[in-house]
Symmetry: D2
Subunit: 415 residues, 4 copies
């Protein structure tokens, strides 16, 4: 149970830290102000692409690529050292990028593109990889993941109503998806769609995952959804309708009926990434809280010294440290025992980390007074991010039920 | 300790309930969509004025006016029965209006105008009342309250840096205020400004409250502040600079140095109003949660029957009921023992109710999945409202310290 | 919704307060020390009987008797004014007695005797009342209630396995009960037993409630159960076996199959009493916490001024006040709308109050350091009392499910 | 950051697990029943000594001895492999022994003897070690630690009032200590006493730690203190008075004025031991909760499947795992960076772990109904243990203030 990063990972972590401090932090606040002031915030500002070029040149690029089957691409697309990273080695990188809203995009390590790239890497044909994975690895195009639906409780993925039906050598796709993150971005060219193919198959073999080019006739972004009032340009979270959309049957990933299998493989590392980024976000919030509480004075004292504020800071420190160790442990299990061995641990972090982050950020907001709710500080955006992750990739309640089922299973419970 | 409304209040409550159901609920969702789609959301839609006319015609107007010294205006400006209401009688009215975002405006019972009108009612000269209070009571103009400052921890109001200095027969005003709610509205004509007049006076007699017409030279709305991503048009929360602003010394309310005294009188009933509106908001959220959890199905059951959802609903029911009784008790104390007798009780509700509402609404959001974060449901806006009220009118921590001081005072603690 | 006590109740409250301060508080600590040091702690010390005589002489006696059908006994057995009290009028009396461990016994207002007396009052025949109720009202004998079972999850009362079978003109009783409070007392002469009579009847008509004299052959107190290490002499909580116990069929209260109906009627007021006593206990704990935190000094300050201690005191004040209002409201509903109208409210207080009391007492324990865990302060005993009431009379979880069912029922849920 | 045990430690862990399962678990319940039924529970039953002999024979003995300076004694007194263990290697041993009340005593790894032995090992002279340490390592005698005082807030150790004054070649000791665990045991022969020697020295050099033989004239155990109603025989927690007690000045550990320095060194590993034992206790409680909730049925389902019970089980699983990782991390810091490098981490576990354990055990109690409060299950005792550790070795609040001070120190706060 060694959570230390490898030497190479330690070097990458330091390089990422240096890059963020030197290149991203000095410009991030202005970037957000520029987006807010833009006539069309949905046209990406050139800054991100400029930063990407620098990151790529330093090999701080596609760091999410997994050790082993991601090595060839890591070499070709310029990750430092030419090899993918284990989950444990990538974890501190994700924590660092999570402190910043730009960083994941700059290093080509942002959701949902990372998850989609990993699916293509594991399940894509050579043809699919050439057409979609490689431009994604070069950040020439962006992607979206279309799974959740507005008209069904998607916490139970088998509830899904959208269909992906085989019709000769075509898949015919119908339905409505939402919270398709990134679909508002002009570079978004490919959608990974999940839908019902065969209701007569067993419960977890009924659905397919299909590559749907964004410009296929019948695909329509009906609207972009605000999250706590924010549309999140230039990425956006879309509600997308699919009306008699036809793609070749070869666009099905791994073959019809295998969507759940793919989703499970996609989600383990993805949840570790999300959680480590939230750890970074919580650390950033705690740092802001500490600084603010030392700088501001009320009733003749720094506000750090008023009432329970120190206790809140201590509790935040403890909560973040516990959460980080839990995520590192889950990453280590994924690396050493695979998705099944890490099944409960991955659900556990999905329960523990977003809630922890939401609380720490809420505490930091409170210490910032009105400023904490405004966009003068990144706290309101951070809170929204953490809150959304109590629902995204499965609500807390579903993950708790997984943990409980496996715990009770030790004592003979069948389900 | 009789919390029952008077017969007249009970009639008004039923009339308000009927009005909201018949006139406001059917149009509210479209109203928000229209504002969101408007070219200029800062130009008020005619709907509010149309609804106001109906409400005024039925005497559902200025219901906040306090029994006793508000009676003359209640008669003149058309409140049912021609008398003001006690805090206890007004409480259930505020709860009902709190379920809706439009309702407080429709009945001319919205913050901060109610608080400003009450200040003018209690402390304004006949001249000031004629010029500012009466148009406010007619809803011809709107007002803002300029107290909190960006550059000081305003939880300690004595920290305030803005100045209101007597210079002959003028007050000279300088400084910067923020979270001045309503200042973005085109009808906002009058600002109630609080600033430092005499540093040599005793701690609570240094500040003055001054009426500053919005169009006075030197008053500038620097920007409108988003709260959790929302600018809240057409009202807005402004950051306002005052640069050598000059108004006649007669614009000082009650005389120089009396700002704290006025603020205390303003804030007691205002906090009861805020809290009762939040009770209404929490009830609305619980209702949404119940309906959603019965309508949606996952894993073969209505989601109400999954995991701890029923327990959460029970806890919400219990928390709301406790909070409502606490607010009614505070209102009853205000009515029967005045602000001093209700001092701890008013701080207690300011601690208990926004936190309760935030939790109940968060729970309802979770039961709505992604929809709960979007604007398809009023939950994200409700959450923001509740969260902001953990800071507005004094952060939780300051109110807890008041409650603790009075509690420890029973056993001889001096402070 | 008037929670003020009647004039008569207000007088009784003051008399009870005076009695406790003058007669009970000065001797209570020594009483506990004497019990702890006694050779046989199960032999009651004469003090309680001495205090009872004084209380009876002042009419502070059987105050729990309900207004209306309890009036005749209130007159005969000496309650001030010769009438029973409403639930609302009795509530502040119960709060006061709850501050003290002796007081409920001194005023003949202690559980489970009060509940058993109320059952006899409502459902007993004249013969049963003469034989058992009247000596109970005179405190000549004590009683126990035998419902919960060691071998079944008694949260679902229909799980009960003990039997009470009609055999000619006798009831034959078999089974094992535990947590029969008071069964260790030498004056305990009568047991109210609940068991299964007819499995073929509908779910809530299968059980009977039977009067079983303590000395009936086949009744055996197997052991006395410690609660958190305490056997609670001279009352005790017993595990009682019933082996072919035979009593006349006339000992069945209200007739075979009516146990659930009786239990429901018994439990509403009983839960109000329990909760109000806990409110008193929490108040006493908060008072101890305040005094201690002002008296003790650490790091150069009274501990009240360290860290979050004031916030904890404020939160306790607020939590107690909310809880008390919730109980008063439930009492008022019981008085004005009967058990059915108060059904959710009574479950709500059973959820809210013991948890609140447990937390407040835990906080007070923490402020007392090691002393808080010892018996130098009544806090450890108070905690045990509050904790036990999260299980007694139905665990929190069952009461939450009642509240949720009624809440969801508003929106059409059938169960 | 490698938390894996060494190969030798892994073997010891398995041997300890096997010993507990084979030798201790089968007899533990009966042991507690025998103690409860004993005429004199303060006379140790022979069972512990019998088990000790077996443990000693297998080298499962004095496993707490620290790698490095504990090696010589580990060799001499028979620890497997003849070497001490690192904190990280000992941690899983402590977790296992924490599941059982007997186990720590059986392996001679119980507090406070371990801490006292470690003090003697680090600071004792050869003479002191021969006289006191060696018999302790052989378990021939037992010891107590006398630090906390009834008359001062001992959370601030500088508050201490007891004195240890140099008078020629003697120390004269006066004062009153309490919560001296183990002082009730007939084998308790040596007390480690801490008192004020020189008020004029700097704040942390005023106190001395002195070895006081239990039978020195003037030492009197005034009483044994119950914790939540339990006296904890045959060990006990004593209140001890010291009246003009005289011991040679050579009995001072490390020399006058060095008590704080010694206490700090003693407490770091001791807190890791306490916390790991609590992790074991929480695991045992969770196991009981799982088994019970699968075995018992209510409302037609195993209680595991009722309401929020599965969520509670999941939350317990997650909380325990987080806490264990935090303790392992603190142990690793102690091993690699020493007490100063682990300063915040050790305080962090002292805050996090007892509270976590208290909550998990409370949950398990609730799932056991009334049984959970009785002594039919080890839950009530476990709860008391966890609760006491929120105060013992420094209350939560003091440890939070340490964590906060070090956190704020990163941003320049001086204290």
């Amino acid at each position: 149970m060694d959570f230390s990063p490898s030497d190479r990972a330690a070097e990458i972590v330091e390089a990422v830290r240096g890059f963020i401090q030197a290149e991203i932090e000095p410009v991030e606040e202005q970037y957000h102000r520029d987006v807010a002031a833009a006539d069309d915030p949905w046209t990406p500002l050139p800054l991100v692409e400029q930063l990407r070029e620098k990151a790529r040149a330093q090999g701080l690029w596609n760091l999410f690529l997994p050790a082993g089957h991601g090595d060839a691409y890591a070499q070709q697309y310029g990750t430092v050292g030419g090899q993918g990273l284990t989950n444990l080695d990538y974890a501190p990188v994700a924590e660092l990028t999570g402190r910043s809203f730009l960083a994941p995009h700059v290093f080509n390590c942002n959701a949902p593109d990372t998850g989609n790239m990993e699916v293509l890497l594991r399940y894509g044909t050579a043809e699919q990889q050439r057409e979609w994975l490689e431009p994604l690895l070069r950040a020439e195009i962006r992607s979206a993941f279309c799974m959740t639906e507005p008209d069904a409780a998607s916490s139970d993925a088998t509830n899904m109503r959208a269909t992906a039906v085989v019709d000769g050598d075509e898949m015919v796709i119908n339905g409505r998806k939402w919270w398709s993150t990134g679909v508002g971005h002009p570079d978004c060219k490919i959608l990974v769609f999940m839908g019902l193919t065969d209701e007569s198959a067993d419960r977890h073999s009924q659905h397919s995952m299909v590559l749907v080019p964004r410009d296929t006739p019948g695909v329509n972004v009906e609207r972009l959804l605000p999250t706590m009032g924010t549309l999140d340009p230039p990425h956006g979270h879309g509600e997308v309708s699919f009306t008699d959309v036809r793609v070749p049957v070869g666009n099905v990933l791994a073959g019809p009926g295998r969507a759940f299998e793919i989703a499970q493989g996609r989600l383990g590392p993805g949840r570790v990434h999300h959680c480590m980024r939230l750890i970074g976000l919580a650390e950033a919030a705690l740092e802001l809280a500490c600084r603010r509480s030392l700088e501001r004075t009320a009733f003749g004292k720094p506000i750090a010294n008023l009432g329970g504020n120190r206790e809140r800071i201590a509790d935040a420190r403890i909560a973040i440290d516990q959460a980080r160790l839990l995520v590192l442990h889950a990453a280590w299990l994924l690396d050493t025992q695979g998705p099944l061995g890490a099944f409960s641990a991955v659900s556990a972090i999905k329960v523990a980390v977003p809630t922890m982050a939401q609380q720490v950020i809420d505490m930091a907001m409170q210490l910032h007074g009105g400023g904490g709710l405004s966009d003068d500080f990144p706290l309101a955006a951070a809170w929204t991010n953490a809150r959304a992750l109590r629902l995204a990739d499965g609500p807390d309640e579903v993950h708790r039920s997984v943990v409980a089922r496996l715990e009770l299973g030790k004592y003979g419970a069948k389900r």
